[in-house]
Symmetry: C2
Subunit: 119 residues, 2 copies
């Protein structure tokens, strides 16, 4: 029998400390399932070809949009539609699960994006 | 300013009681983000054209595979690759988040699948 191992999101998050540096923990239909620690303000950006899914695992974030904002706590998710400018902000450190097509730059721009890292 | 509302997964799960009847709570890149309550044994099935993502929100499940099994608790996820036969089992009620392409039958077969419901 093959041993199959679940992916424990908290255990994956415990392996690193940097903020805004997503780690890929699984792949799914051409997408990366990622975890990330965030604190402070990210840059305003959008993804022309992909929706952007945020699920809060720990802490709280605010996703600023040009026409308002949404506040998310643990167990809450929000999908930013493709092409919509947004800026995630976390006053205190928060932990998120993200899903993006493999290869999507996290800032919407290859030049400024975090390098893809698989853990 | 537009009011944007987060999707609270526990609140969505509190709106229904049936087992193995997923509810779509958001859409993302042509996929349904779903929550489901499960208890007991599901049918053996596979999805020819899609991986199958399980994230446990509450309780525990076992995903049986033809060559073994994987046990998942809260905050743990597992991706069953496309074409791989599997059977989810929950001894006690468990709550899951699932992601599947919109239109994917949950049993792998239109004839026996749960109807798509959006909440």
């Amino acid at each position: 029998m093959t041993t199959h191992v679940p992916i424990n999101l908290a255990a994956k998050l415990a392996t690193f400390d940097e903020h805004w540096q997503p780690r890929t923990v699984a792949t799914f239909n051409g997408h990366d399932i990622m975890v990330v620690k965030v604190k402070g303000e990210f840059v305003w950006h959008s993804h022309a070809d992909s929706d952007d899914l945020f699920l809060v695992l720990h802490g709280r974030i605010r996703i600023e949009l040009r026409d308002g904002a949404v506040e998310l706590g643990p167990g809450e998710l929000f999908v930013v539609p493709r092409g919509v400018e947004h800026r995630p902000v976390a006053i205190d450190e928060a932990h998120l699960m993200l899903i993006e097509p493999t290869g999507t730059p996290n800032t919407g721009d290859e030049a400024t994006a975090a390098q893809r890292r698989v853990i």
